[in-house]
């Protein structure tokens, strides 16, 4: 086991504070240090994931106070899985964006990489923390990094997108604070496990009101339907790799937070159905919106939102299989959508408007990127033998086991829509003639490595999904087992007498 959970947060924070100083010593350090930190986080969380798989959950207390009094970090199979995924994606995004466009300059690069690192650290924090207020703080860390990254380019639209994101984010934090206030006023505690063990004492009306405010607050981060207006804009205007990071990291953290609320914290019976319904609406609206898009990244953004809807549908099924399927979907989406964003932004590298029609005929000029984009498209629409198929299959199986035939049909119909818009793009890449004034940009070596790693993972999972199924099974069992979670977190604390 390398490191401990707290290092996943502390090391990037330390690095973030140090980077401005180190940048004065050697300018290249502002690019290299975040990479090293992200690599450390990746290795550390992966090794801890292995440890957790074998030895059970790690509960790390902070400041010497056991739960529920101090803040604690929970590194359970579920959170370990998500943390590993996020740090890995963070590293890939770092690798890709090394000297990407504006990052060649010193000042922008410094900020870019600090924010990227903090984006990952914040998302990991959201996942591994065991305290709702601490989670709120991490949501804000992620949020501010995300606003800043969205506004990274100096064009006029990036500020607009960022402002919308910020407006929604501010509403989100308000809602979260209200929810926290309700919870704290009733239960007098902020620790998740403690809340979970006491939530049944709370009057139902307050409980549901708190849950609703939580849902709104986190729903904005998790891009559920009426709350996701910011998402397409932010994805479109943020730099390509940041779009990948949003899709692969930030949203996943939001989904995790939502699911943790619904599954562990609250014992409200109808919440699953709400998740299911919201997920379905999100899925349908987003995918239908995607089909008419003219900008590549915007299309990918809507697709990403739709996929998150599907994840919520899978969680909303509410069974162990449903959770497993949802986690599988999250994994696949976290691998595939970044690949699409990375290769897609390479395809529209030199175009101003980033229109879909500007990828026409690029298959000849940038064959490798084009192939990876096509691979990603094939995988995301769920064609076997690529990764996306297995998750789609498990979602459908889970739904079928609950007899939700209408939902299966809806998911599949939406998948057809998804096929239409993805294949339209792939067709354009390969079978159309290139616009003459567009100069294709060969990807840099680091970008090629980043993309091909993702492509290779898609193929590996596609051909042998068993490489991840154990981890996913552990994670889903972990999420479903609330009593165990409470016991894990509070066991040390209960023995303390106060």
């Amino acid at each position: 086991m390398v490191g401990s959970p707290v290092l996943l947060i502390a090391i990037p924070l330390l690095a973030a504070f140090m980077i401005p100083l180190l940048g004065m010593i050697w300018k290249e350090l502002v690019r290299i240090i975040p990479g090293l930190v992200l690599a450390f986080m990746m290795i550390s969380s992966a090794s801890m994931l292995m440890y957790v798989t074998n030895n059970g959950t790690i509960i790390q207390t902070l400041a010497g106070w056991e739960a529920p009094w101090g803040i604690n970090l929970v590194f359970s199979p579920l959170t370990a899985f998500l943390a590993t995924l996020m740090t890995f994606m963070g590293f890939i995004v770092w690798l890709y964006s090394y000297r990407f466009k504006r990052n060649v300059d010193f000042e922008p690069a410094k900020k870019y990489f600090i924010f990227l690192m903090m984006l990952v650290a914040g998302a990991v924090g959201i996942v591994i923390t065991g305290d709702i207020f601490n989670q709120f703080v991490f949501i804000e860390i992620t949020g501010i990094s995300a606003y800043a990254l969205t506004a990274f380019y100096t064009g006029r639209n990036s500020a607009e997108a960022s402002f919308k994101y910020l407006l929604m984010g501010a509403l989100s934090s308000s809602a979260l604070l209200i929810a926290i206030a309700i919870i704290y006023s009733q239960l007098g505690t902020l620790n998740m496990a403690d809340i979970a063990s006491k939530i049944h004492l709370m009057p139902a009306g307050y409980k549901v009101t708190a849950l609703i405010f939580f849902m709104m607050g986190i729903g904005i981060e998790a891009e559920i339907f009426p709350l996701n207006g910011w998402a397409p804009d932010a994805y479109t205007e943020a730099p390509g790799p940041i779009g990948a990071a949003f899709a692969g990291i930030v949203v996943k953290a939001g989904v995790y937070a939502m699911v943790r609320m619904v599954f562990t914290l609250f014992d409200v019976s109808g919440a699953m159905d709400i998740l299911l319904t919201i997920g379905l609406i999100t899925l349908i609206v987003a995918e239908t919106a995607a089909i008419r898009q003219e900008k590549l990244k915007r299309m990918l953004a809507y697709s990403s939102i739709g996929q998150m809807g599907l994840v919520f549908v899978a969680f909303g099924i509410g069974t162990l299989e449903g959770v497993y399927a949802a986690l599988f979907l999250m994994l696949n989406h976290a691998i595939i959508k970044p690949l699409l964003f990375l290769s897609g932004s390479q395809l529209v590298f030199n175009s101003k408007e980033k229109l879909i029609k500007e990828v026409n005929g690029l298959g000849k000029y940038m064959p490798f990127t084009a192939v990876l984009f096509a691979l990603g498209s094939f995988a995301i629409v769920g064609l076997p033998p690529f990764a996306g198929f297995w998750s789609k299959l498990s979602v459908l199986t889970a739904a079928a086991n609950e007899g939700m035939l209408l939902i299966i049909a809806l998911i599949l119909i939406v998948s057809v829509i998804e096929i239409v818009y993805y294949f339209r793009v792939v067709n354009r890449i390969y079978f159309f003639d290139k616009a003459e004034d567009l100069i294709p940009q060969k990807p840099r070596v680091n970008a090629v490595i980043a993309m091909s790693v993702l492509g290779a993972i898609i193929l590996i999972i596609g051909f042998n999904p068993d490489v991840v199924s154990t981890v996913l099974h552990n994670a889903s069992a972990d999420l479903m087992d609330t009593p165990q979670y409470i016991k894990n977190v509070l066991s040390a604390g209960q023995s303390l007498t106060n």
Binding site: D233, P384, L393, L396, N401, V416, F423, F432
Partner: protein, 615 residues
């Protein structure tokens, strides 16, 4: 061994692609090797009934071949290898050949995989690989990709997803993905599921086998893929739909109470497909389109046979499936050869190639005769059994409809031969040469296959019989067929050998009679030298008759053809896109509106929290 076959296929596909970067010849060799080696291994080393099992994320998967699969493997592998040989000269000089060849290998692999699948998951996986590899072939030439390609894939996806839905329902009811478990426990499902599952599966298979009303992709896709591929696309790939349909119709539908109506519906859909396909084929001016619609029509017959499901009908359907693979494969190859030599496949442009491409013509002639179902070639056997089975099973109106369709088929059969090979020999095509031997030999082999099966249908009826016995039919040998004899339900018989000999004898006699007194002495005159009401047409006068070929007929059947399903689909698609365009306007672009949505969201949840959260 089974794994090895698939590994070789997969590795072959990848190697083909890579070796194309080194040298084209190496690529061709690797391509052929990766088709032939696994095929040989398959026939040498794989026995029927031999299975391998493994488990993947909790699903038990099992691969092995059964008799029915073995039968279809003849179509797949045979046609695949021949088309592979054909492809090399046919595709010469095109771009992206590595891509083409590896997709080709993948297609063959996936089809063989479908036949090997003993469980629904691997069936579906191979099915989808087949779909996207064929999709990549459809768009390979880059024409109309957004329209034709997307249409093909959307329909395939609808089919595949219907199938997937059925699969997950089955899994939820059965907790097993094995096809055999499905069959054995199907009777215990509740009636809704008993209806739903076969219908969903049939939608899936119906798309691939171009059944009405799911056929609209077929004409475009068949005609847009390179002809070297279309021969297996139409000849073998569409048979996978038939394969699945056979399993559903034989193993599941009889168990459903009132399943009779499902059968009838499918049979009627098949018949309508046949009629519609034929009429549209008659109306086409492009050989590829004509053959595409003809494929639709032929698949209609097969569907009728499968749906009717009596032993004789099943024999007929499966025999016709094999025959269709042979002659349609050959005809697409012919079209490909003509297209390669002349650069177009339009009847209104190409004429009079018979003297330039005699061998191609021979292959086309035999295949057309087989297609039209005229004795003594194999097409007749299938048609005969189909009619007899329909009459024998009291489908009287159906038999008339089928008969109408197959009579109307003569029209396009003639159009195909006349359009390409007969008629005026224009100067424009004077330079045309016969296609390379490597292209001609595969088509002649296929055409010869129809001839052999016409005289000795028992050769292929034997494996069909084995496959049917496996599915629970009683043996039909001796009851419905012998090596070269056929019987119907009432014991009436057809002796194929005397027929063949009589035909050969009469033909030989008159051929000699016509030839003996100095065919050599007769003088060949150009096609301008005709008795045209006493006038002598000049060289530059274009006398070719090819526009509006069957106009009177088409005018008669116009009311039938006015209702084009394609139009409704297009309108539906446009309507949906307009709707989507409308719905996405919820994203107004105004940040404040989004904030308002958030408040509306929370208000709705708060107001209805009692109902929503079950308080």
């Amino acid at each position: 061994m089974i794994y090895l076959i698939f590994v070789i296929f997969l590795g072959g596909a990848a190697l083909t692609w890579l070796s194309g970067k080194i040298h084209p010849i190496l690529r061709d060799v690797v391509f052929l090797a990766s088709l032939i080696v696994p095929s040989v291994l398959f026939y040498m080393n794989v026995e029927v009934g031999q299975t391998v099992s493994f488990s993947l994320i909790g699903y038990k998967l099992s691969w092995g071949i059964n008799y029915l699969g073995y039968l279809f493997s003849y179509i797949v592998v045979g046609l695949g290898v021949l088309a592979g040989f054909y492809a090399i000269p046919a595709m010469k000089g095109k771009k992206n050949l590595g891509f083409f060849y590896s997709n080709f290998v993948l297609s063959i692999m996936s089809m063989l995989g479908i036949l090997f699948s003993r469980d629904l998951i691997s069936f579906f996986i191979f099915w989808e690989i087949m779909t996207w590899s064929s999709y990549l072939m459809v768009v390979f030439q880059g024409k109309d990709v957004q329209k034709v390609g997307i249409k093909y894939f959307v329909f395939s996806a609808i089919g595949a997803y219907a199938m997937l839905m059925a699969i997950v329902i089955i899994y939820s009811l059965n907790q097993s993905m094995m096809i055999s478990d499905l069959v054995s426990s199907f009777a215990s499902f509740d009636p809704t599921m008993q209806w739903l599952i076969p219908i969903l599966l049939l939608v899936g298979f119906g798309v691939k086998s171009a059944m009405m009303p799911l056929h609209v992709w077929a004409s475009g896709s068949y005609s847009h893929a390179p002809m070297a591929y279309t021969s297996i696309f139409s000849g073998a790939l569409s048979k996978m739909g038939i394969y699945g349909m056979v399993i559903v119709m034989v193993s599941l539908v009889p168990i459903i109470p009132e399943g009779f109506w499902l059968r009838e519906t499918i049979a009627w859909l098949g018949a309508i497909t046949a009629v519609g396909g034929t009429l549209w084929a008659v109306a086409q001016d492009d050989a590829k389109k004509l053959l595409a619609y003809s494929s639709v029509a032929q698949l209609g017959y097969i569907i009728v046979g499968v749906a009717v499901g009596t032993p004789l009908a099943m024999l007929a359907a499966l025999f016709m499936a094999v025959m269709h693979g042979l002659f349609k494969g050959a005809l697409f190859m012919v079209t490909g050869a003509v297209e390669r030599q002349t650069g177009t496949s339009n009847f209104t442009e190409v004429t009079g190639l018979i003297r330039k491409m005699p061998w191609t013509f021979l292959a086309a002639l035999m295949s057309i005769i087989a297609l039209a179902g005229i004795p003594p070639l194999g097409g007749f056997v299938g048609k005969w059994m189909l009619y007899e089975s329909l009459i024998g099973s009291s489908h009287y109106i159906l038999v008339i409809v089928i008969f109408f369709s197959s009579t109307a088929a003569f029209l396009y059969c003639y159009k195909f031969l006349f359009g390409f090979f007969l008629g005026q020999e224009e100067k424009e095509w004077a330079h045309v040469k016969e296609a390379p031997a490597m292209m001609v030999v595969p088509m002649l082999l296929l055409a010869f296959g129809t001839f052999v099966l016409g005289a000795f249908p028992g050769l292929i009826l034997d494996p069909i019989n084995a496959g049917m016995q496996e599915m629970g039919f009683a043996s039909t040998q001796g009851k419905y067929w012998e090596m070269s004899m056929l019987f119907n339900e009432w014991g009436d018989q057809i002796m194929l050998q005397p027929i063949l000999y009589a035909i050969i004898a009469v033909f030989a006699f008159f051929a000699i009679f016509l030839t003996i007194k100095g065919f050599k002495k007769t003088r060949y005159v150009t096609t301008k030298d005709i008795s045209s009401s006493g006038e002598v047409p000049l060289e530059h006068e274009n006398l070719t008759f090819s526009v509006n070929f069957f106009q009177p007929f088409l005018r008669t059947v116009e009311p039938l053809m006015k209702r084009q399903i394609d139009k409704y689909y297009n309108e539906f698609g446009r309507g949906m896109e307009a709707l989507f365009d409308f719905t996405r306007r919820v994203y107004t672009g105004n940040g404040q509106t989004y904030a308002l949505y958030a408040v509306i969201f929370i208000v709705i949840l708060l107001m209805f929290k009692n109902t929503l959260f079950g308080l």
